[in-house]
């Protein structure tokens, strides 16, 4: 890294003398010096000293500004620090093809977020959010509308600057200087695919491939379109595509750069069941290739089906973990007993079974037992019921869905807000 100082348009590079450091610098230098030279020529040809003086004065102004600014070293020109982990590929690898290493516990996290906060004036979009996402993991980010999911994605995607906290994205610290380096290694598919509707599918993808400076563009576009089953529609104008097909083009675009982390913001929003299933299959295939997927959604069955772990956000992070862990944390294990007739002495019966912590009867002949461990409690409970002469219609473990967990947590927030 070369030391440099000076105003933004002329920077002194030690050992290299004076010269503009950036293309804008060259532009300003030419814009200032060219008129000065023209003035000098006119003055010389017309033998008019006024023109000569004006030309010299202009050069003097330029030199003075450059010299004054040269005393202040610039900190913000430091090159982006090298990624802490997972060094970036020199050129993006050939798209959807190469298999990645499977998720491994010893691999560094693809995303590490600590105390991240984003505030717009007096309103928090999200606050003090901390979590990590392992390489190759499919991570679900759940929350109601306005919870801050999209703002979190935009912040991690370097579109918004965090108000507080820190994050490492694809091994690169999230700082203003590293924005470009991070964007090379990630892809974001917003909720609306955002296609140039007047252009064809191929023209759309060519544009984005050029912005990522992908070498073998046509092969990469072909691979991406094949991955989303759209190879035959490459020459179609995007305006002529259905919403589902546009969403798939958006996914193909996200795959173009072979991202280390793929952010999908509500990828199945507004899609029909067939198109939704295709998106699911695509996400599963990405998981198979070891791509880290950060999926924001409020379709809970989607999160339950696709995600290794989920986080529930409602401005603050409410919970992070595997869906079964969250269920266990929010709900106690329970057994549900249905009998033909109400039991004669349920108190005595359930108290005699080890492992039953408490019970309730929401309806006659319907009993919900909170137990320590359903599998160990079920056999003695069955024996006790038979011994008591009960006609047992069913005995089952109560299964809470991720939706139950989600609704429970959000309901707590609503109650807290009402208090």
């Amino acid at each position: 890294m070369s030391m440099s100082s000076g105003p933004w348009f002329v920077r002194r590079r030690i050992g290299h003398g004076w010269r503009p450091a950036t293309w804008q610098g060259w532009l300003v230098t030419v814009a200032m010096l060219a008129p000065a030279i023209i003035l000098l020529i006119i003055g010389r040809v017309a033998k008019a000293p006024v023109w000569l003086i004006a030309g010299i004065a202009l050069i003097g102004v330029y030199a003075a500004v450059a010299a004054l600014g040269a005393r202040q070293p610039r900190a913000d020109v430091a090159a982006a620090p090298a990624p802490a982990v997972d060094a970036p590929r020199s050129t993006p690898a050939r798209a959807p093809a190469p298999a990645r290493r499977p998720l491994a516990a010893d691999r560094p996290p693809a995303l590490l977020v600590e105390g991240l906060t984003k505030r717009f004036r007096d309103r928090f979009a999200f606050q003090d959010v901390s979590f990590s996402v392992g390489s190759g993991e499919v991570f679900g980010f759940l929350g109601p509308n306005g919870a801050g999911k999209t703002t979190t994605v935009r912040t991690l995607g370097t579109l918004l600057a965090p108000s507080a906290g820190s994050a490492t994205v694809a091994g690169i610290p999230l700082t203003p200087e590293n924005g470009e380096a991070i964007r090379r290694r990630i892809a974001i598919m917003p909720e609306s695919p955002g296609l140039y509707l007047r252009l064809t599918v191929r023209e759309n993808l060519e544009y984005f491939a050029s912005l990522f400076m992908i070498d073998d563009r046509q092969a990469r576009i072909r691979d991406s379109l094949t991955a989303v089953n759209l190879a035959s529609r490459a020459e179609d104008v995007c305006a002529s595509l259905s919403k589902g097909l546009r969403q798939r083009v958006g996914l193909a675009r996200a795959l173009l750069s072979d991202p280390a982390i793929l952010f999908l913001d509500e990828p199945t929003s507004g899609l029909d069941p067939v198109a939704t299933r295709e998106v699911y299959e695509l996400v599963e295939s990405l998981r198979g290739r070891g791509v880290t997927v950060f999926l924001t959604t409020h379709r809970l069955e989607e999160a339950e089906r696709l995600c290794d772990r989920v986080a529930i956000l409602n401005t603050t992070l409410r919970m992070v973990g595997r869906p079964d862990e969250l269920r266990a944390r929010v709900f106690s294990a329970a057994l549900v007993v249905m009998t033909a007739e109400p039991l004669q002495q349920p108190h005595a019966l359930f108290a005699s079974v080890p492992g039953v912590e408490r019970w309730e009867s929401p309806e006659p002949a319907h009993y919900v037992l909170t137990v320590s461990e359903p599998k160990t409690v079920a056999p003695p409970l069955t024996r006790a019921l038979v011994k008591a002469g009960a006609d047992v219609e069913s005995l089952s473990e109560s299964r809470h869905s991720l939706e139950d967990v989600y609704l429970e947590l959000i309901a707590e927030d609503v109650e807290a807000a009402a208090r």
Partner: protein, 246 residues
């Protein structure tokens, strides 16, 4: 991570492709030049007293330069707010493209057709005058300061119009509003040209160069202003950034 001409070229190509499919832009580029050829020629081919001819020539030359302002205004006012309206701004901003690359690509896409059209209609009018107009008119138009004024001012006025319109486009939420305000904001520098064409300032090579320098300085200021406004956070959220986003 330096400025990439390849990415700038990609933005330029995409913009030109989009214009090709946009009826409003194609219509503006086709209709305006026709209008700005027909009106001056019909004026300049009328036989009038020499004093009137000077005024007519001035007006015609000014009219020719108006295309340099209106065509880029139509194109560049759409450049940011249009992308925001169709939802393409966010995907573009999530790529590694730098703001300077995006701005220069978009500006070049407006500048190139605008300057090409401005030069073309000037050449057509000048040749037509040479062939069929009165000698007084020919003498007024076929002189070095006139050609120099047009050669210098067409790109400089276009550049001003582009920066003004992109600046408005970054803050606007509606394409039509951006185009109307952008066109209005583009007009003041024409006042400088009007002073020359109506001979309030006596036209000469020196005056043309000095005023061109003034316009170039205005363009540089416009570029700096747009560079500041073109912040990812501001474009996405509409909020003033807490600190500069990359």
């Amino acid at each position: 991570m330096s400025f990439s001409l390849a990415r700038t070229g990609a933005v330029l190509r995409k913009e030109l492709r989009e214009f090709r499919h946009n009826r409003l832009i194609v219509g503006t580029m086709a209709f305006l030049p026709l209008l700005f050829i027909v009106i001056p020629i019909s004026d300049l081919f009328r036989h009038a007293a020499p004093a009137v001819v000077h005024a007519q020539t001035g007006a015609a030359l000014l009219l020719l330069l108006v295309t340099s302002v209106i065509i880029p205004a139509t194109i560049s006012a759409y450049s940011v707010v249009g992308e925001r309206e169709q939802g393409t701004l966010e995907p573009v901003l999530t790529t590694p493209v730098r703001r300077e690359e995006l701005l220069v690509g978009k500006a070049a896409a407006a500048l190139i057709p605008a300057v090409a059209v401005a030069y073309l209609i000037f050449i057509v009018v000048a040749v037509a005058v040479r062939i069929g107009a009165d000698q007084t008119v020919v003498n007024d138009i076929w002189q070095a300061p006139t050609f120099l004024t047009h050669a210098l001012f067409a790109p400089l006025l276009s550049a001003w119009s582009i920066w003004a319109c992109i600046a408005i486009s970054t803050r606007s939420s509606d394409v039509r509003v951006a185009q109307q305000l952008g066109t209005l904001a583009s007009l003041p520098p024409l006042g400088i040209v009007a002073l020359i064409t109506f001979q309030v300032i006596q036209p000469s090579v020196t005056v043309a160069i000095i005023l061109a320098c003034v316009l170039a300085a205005l363009d540089a200021a416009g570029w700096m202003l747009v560079g500041r406004l073109f912040d990812r956070e501001r474009l996405i959220s509409g909020a003033r950034p807490v600190r500069s986003t990359p």
